[in-house]
């Protein structure tokens, strides 16, 4: 990891990551629309700055990331291959988890996601404590505003603070839990809650990924140096629907937020021809990844035998011409 990176270099890195995440997830949406993928998926379109800004501040050699149902961006920012992600969602044996995990259950090289709200919070605390015991490494655990409805989160924050778990809680507050606005389900100020456990919390608008990266680096350095948890509370916005269902939010609100999409704003900070070149390269890589993944062999069963009772049985009634 470079200790000091120029803003120009960082802008290119962050734009490349964010645009890759955007391209991959828009491609996923298209693949589902075309019926080439089954199941469900949760895209982070509009929230990419959170993934790029925070995940890149960690050290892939020794740190770890715990993510949520909305995990593709975090996975790609961690260095995961688009092809492996596509293969996972296509149900191919080359997928991140051999096609067993799908969109929201990923595991790769210190990266873990699961689809249960707050369920991974204590697991991340335990993993952080194991790294502390080993003498190096810290982690980041992503949460959403909806996660604050789960009691397990508070149990986990309490233990993290009590036992000194080197963990950065990263809240991606996009204002909605699925279809329900934050104000309908939470009393008080969510960002004030970690402080009740003595967890230092920094609130940030996540539209500027360069500023976010600098902030995340400072917080991660703090976690690393004193083995105390911190919380980075990010205000962000999801421009796509929660999952594959319709978007029931006020279209005017979504449109207004689209005008404030962080990705084009970041793009404008790059020379036009450079941004064009980056986009072309991403489009080429993503198209190649999709083609390769789709033609990979199908995922294999785990080899667990079916119970005897579900094996094909002899027909109960005689077949053929014997029946009247």
């Amino acid at each position: 990891m470079q200790l000091v990176q120029s803003d120009e270099g960082l802008t290119v890195e962050l734009y490349t990551q964010m645009a890759t995440i955007r391209r991959v997830e828009e491609t996923l949406q298209a693949l589902f629309r075309q019926g080439r993928m089954r199941g469900t998926t949760h895209v982070s379109i509009g929230q990419e700055a959170c993934a790029a800004g925070v995940v890149g501040a960690l050290d892939r050699q020794r740190d770890f990331v715990f993510s949520t149902h909305r995990c593709h961006g975090h996975f790609l920012a961690w260095g995961g291959e688009p092809r492996a992600l596509f293969a996972e969602l296509f149900g191919r044996e080359t997928g991140i988890c051999g096609g067993l995990g799908g969109s929201q259950h990923l595991c790769w090289s210190g990266f873990f996601s699961n689809g249960i709200q707050a369920g991974m919070a204590p697991v991340a605390v335990g993993m952080a404590l194991s790294r502390k015991a080993a003498g190096e490494g810290i982690g980041a655990a992503f949460l959403g505003d909806g996660t604050f409805g789960e009691g397990t989160l508070y149990e986990s924050m309490n233990l993290a603070a009590l036992w000194g778990a080197p963990l950065l809680f990263v809240v991606e507050d996009n204002g909605y839990a699925q279809s329900t606005p934050r104000r309908v389900q939470h009393a008080g100020r969510l960002s004030a809650r970690p402080a009740a456990f003595g967890i230092e919390t920094v609130v940030q608008d996540a539209r500027d990924p360069v500023a976010l990266r600098r902030l995340a680096e400072a917080l991660i350095l703090a976690v690393r140096s004193d083995c105390r948890p911190r919380c980075l509370y990010l205000h962000t916005y999801r421009l796509a629907a929660h999952s594959r269902s319709e978007d029931y939010r006020d279209p005017e609100e979504v449109q207004a937020r689209r005008q404030r999409d962080p990705l084009p704003a970041l793009r404008r900070r790059l020379p036009e021809d450079q941004a064009d070149a980056i986009d072309r390269e991403i489009a080429r890589r993503v198209a190649e990844a999709v083609a390769a993944a789709e033609s990979d062999p199908p995922a294999q069963p785990r080899g667990v035998p079916l119970p005897a009772a579900t094996l094909p049985l002899a027909p109960l009634l005689p077949t053929g011409g014997e029946r009247a």
Partner: protein, 334 residues
């Protein structure tokens, strides 16, 4: 070991108790493996856990026996993270009833990870849970809820008795790469070990025979169910009915037909379970026997399909008993 009134190492007969066997095993694990640690509510000395199973350990291994807040989900979840991070946590849930607060962490996390993540991680986690009734603790502190944790892919359920070597079973669970729910019946803690014939590894099945002549009945039970079966077998022998008791230690995967065959195919099988009637371990055992063909005739002896009352005499009336086991066996053989 530090003997104590409630946590006596040796029973009245001078033998090692069920509780002490577990405590000694954890002592040895902590001594021999720096990756092992214990976490749970009230596990620190001098209290040593609600059932005194961890007594003496925190004094001997400071920093490796961790008292937690009353947060079962976080206890199991954090232990899961420690396990995938390379440590060997033993988590204690104070009463098995409280496992429900951590069911999501066990079922949707610890048990899932190895398979769901395509064998990229293992979860060497042990969750110890004192369970069962017989102490008049009432509806929420007396249950045998393990049937709800059977049939969970990736989760092993082990229920020692004093006819096994509980400490050896706990060591096997800690060495296991998969999460193990380790169910300890509360009434077994003070009993002296009475090792019997055991087969299978690493979670052996114990068998005991009583009576002479052709085998009349086989009794399948686990965990605390043993306390009714042994006296029932003596009474059956007096009545001229020989019996074999079969006690698997790993109850989530068990092939009853094999043990019935080994026992000489007795014509009758009594299936004993402390949990509520129906949909439980004995239902699975009965179904497997029936599916295998040549099945013995079967009776189940279970708790009533009801809450466990706090009043001691009402609790006694709703749980199985030696009398019920005898009656079921005699009804089948006569």
């Amino acid at each position: 070991m530090t003997p104590s009134a409630n946590g006596a190492v040796h029973g009245h007969g001078g033998g090692l108790t069920f509780r002490a066997s577990l405590t000694e095993a954890m002592d040895g694990l902590l001594r021999g493996d720096p990756r092992v640690l214990i976490l749970g509510e009230d596990v620190l000395d001098p209290y040593g856990g609600a059932f005194k199973v961890t007594r003496g350990l925190s004094d001997r291994y400071p920093g490796r026996v961790l008292a937690t807040p009353v947060s079962e989900a976080a206890i199991i979840g954090t232990a899961t993270g420690l396990a995938i991070g390379g440590l060997r946590p033993i988590a204690e849930v104070m009463f098995g009833d409280f496992l429900l607060l951590a069911a999501d962490e066990l079922i949707n996390h610890a048990a899932k990870f190895r398979a769901m993540y395509h064998e990229q991680v293992t979860v060497p986690l042990v969750v110890r849970a004192p369970a069962g009734g017989g102490r008049a603790y009432g509806p929420t502190h007396s249950q045998s809820l393990e049937k709800h944790f059977l049939g969970v892919p990736g989760l092993k359920v082990v229920a020692p008795t004093h006819l096994h070597d509980p400490g050896a079973l706990l060591r096997a669970a800690v060495a296991d790469p998969d999460p193990v729910l380790f169910v300890e019946h509360k009434l077994l803690y003070p009993l002296e070990l009475r090792p019997s014939e055991q087969r299978g590894t690493p979670y052996p099945t114990a068998t005991v025979r009583a009576g002479d002549g052709d085998p009349g009945v086989i009794i399948f039970a686990y965990g605390g169910g043993v306390r009714w079966c042994l006296p029932a077998m003596s009474r059956l022998a007096e009545a001229g009915v020989s019996s074999t008791l079969c006690l698997p230690s790993r109850i989530d995967r068990f092939e009853p037909w094999t043990w019935w065959d080994l026992a000489g195919r007795p014509p009758a099988a009594v299936l004993v379970e402390e949990g509520t009637a129906g949909h439980g371990w004995t239902a699975e055992v009965a179904a497997q026997l029936a599916e295998a063909g040549d099945a013995p005739s079967i009776r189940r002896v279970t708790g009533a399909d009801d809450i466990i009352p706090a009043a001691g005499h009402l609790e006694d009336a709703m749980l199985p008993s030696a009398e019920a086991v005898v009656a079921a066996a005699l009804a089948l053989v006569r």
